[in-house]
Subunit: 310 residues, 2 copies
């Protein structure tokens, strides 16, 4: 084992997309991460995994990390990429839940982007990596937040490429994740939303998301249950995460804690403002855990650091 | 003349709604205002007007100010309102252009709200006045900004009532208004937008408006032409303000100056960042005035003060 050559390590973060009204553009990096160590291998590339619920993750070159590395090389060297390719052994410790709406697949794509950039010494910018990543996994919200850290809004720029804006906010809250024991397939979840949406619903999301951003910047989440409301995704997907949506509605309407589905679910997240910590942990959380006993409740915070090699 | 009793004066501000992506929710008060003096009259209420393009404004009790005053009294005193009603003479100096997308009718509604509150000593809160105003003129974006001043986002709250959020921003820019010599009827303009809109267009507006708010708060309008873009109103209304939209597009794409149609048009507005003042006034503005000679170019700024009695 000692003669394996360590090329780099990479840490990639869980992310929560949408944040209620920020449908398909908001993403937030969380302090839950996967660590991978990358060694030069003898022959083919392979992946070894440690963690929960990882049985369905490919361990050969079909692994999302390996596919992303190959995609980066293809973008860089076109048809000549194979001559540059090195066989890698990638050993991963997986802490980000898989298919739970916490950006699990973005952690793999971003790991692949950063590994390729480092191991092949490509010097690609974060925005170049971002746009390559989108060719593998077309969810700019999760990928941008995973790459850049913090709260990020992704958008399609005039050039037609995606870009992102990192939003500096006051972090006087914790994030409560509520993770149920079932999966949601993101592409199936996407199909539940119609191509045309009511204008009034779009207006509600535009207003609410801008107010949410304003309040996060001001560090004031008073009455935030009013403007974390969304009309563009959660209601259409109720059937694939009925209990999660019940939990979100209970947090917003009974406990006055701003909550939303994370990405396409089934996990939910809530913002717990500093000044409500004590009451929330000592009273509300106990009741919620009892009533929603199928959920794992995890307290975390924003990771302002983006994913990185070390 | 000297024996007329002055009850109050009221100053109400022009407003620009939408600001590009903030469709039907963003409003900004501008330093252009109407002043009215309110006297106790002998018999019926009447309105006297000074200013440009005022020939179509009613001068009797059908005037929007008088109708709003009556509506406030009705809301307060129900069927008994008539016994409280005083005949008023309202003398107005109109500086806010009429039917140009600059909130002209909101200046009248807000004047009526503030006059009623003051003259009848009603002590209604700004949010109560706001919701009464919406019964007369259902444009929360203009009314909220006219009442509260500054940059305001209006939204439909959980309760079903409209509410608004005033956004504190760094004001390191001027506002350039470009006002053409024709009118747009707001309710006709509203009918041009379909009830259902493409999901992707909604997402673009959600992302862009939140980024615009972030940048206005940070005082950084670099590359703002990218995220002042809108897909939900301007393109549908091209035929009612073709030259205005050409001007907006030229500002954004050639001069790199973030610009948008004001409200439902036909006026346009542009944000002129401080660090571009010199080049803009000495070079770009001259060319624009020459090319778009049917427009009146007016330089103004945000009014952070809301409308008020004095």
């Amino acid at each position: 084992m000692n003669n394996k050559k360590l090329l780099t390590k990479v840490r990639t973060y869980a992310t929560s997309a949408n944040l209620g009204p920020g449908f398909d553009c908001a993403g937030m990096a969380l302090n839950i991460y996967n660590d991978c160590s990358i060694f030069l291998n003898k022959k083919d590339s392979c992946v070894a995994l440690k963690g929960q619920n990882i049985s369905e993750i490919a361990k050969d070159e079909n692994n999302l990390i390996c596919r992303t590395i190959k995609k980066v090389l293809e973008k860089k060297y076109a048809e000549n990429f194979a001559q540059y390719e090195k066989p890698l052994e990638i050993i991963c410790e997986i802490n980000v839940p898989v298919e739970r709406g916490l950006g699990g697949s973005s952690t793999a794509v971003v790991a692949g982007l950063l590994i390729a950039n480092k191991v092949y010494d490509l010097n690609l910018s974060i925005r170049e990596l971002f746009n390559i990543g989108l060719e593998i996994e077309p969810h700019p919200d999760n990928i941008a937040a995973c790459l850049a850290g913090g709260l990020v809004i992704s958008y399609k720029s005039k050039s037609g490429n995606y870009d992102f804006e990192k939003i500096s906010i006051k972090e006087n809250f914790k994030i409560l994740l509520m993770i149920p024991d079932h999966k949601v397939n993101t592409s199936k979840a996407r199909k539940l939303i119609p191509d045309l949406v009511p204008k009034e619903d779009a207006i509600l999301n535009i207003a609410n998301f801008a107010i949410l951003i304003n309040r996060l910047k001001e560090g004031n989440l008073k009455d935030a249950t009013d403007f974390i409301r969304d009309k563009l995704h959660q209601q259409y997907r109720r059937d694939i995460y009925p209990d999660s949506l019940k939990l979100v509605e209970e947090l917003n309407n009974i406990y006055q804690i701003p909550a939303a589905i994370s990405g396409s679910g089934p996990s939910a997240l809530a913002f717990i403002p500093e000044n409500t910590f004590e009451t929330f942990y000592s009273q509300s959380l106990v009741k919620l855990k009892k009533k929603f006993s199928d959920f794992e409740f995890t307290l975390t915070s924003i990771s302002n650091k983006g994913s990185y090699c070390y």
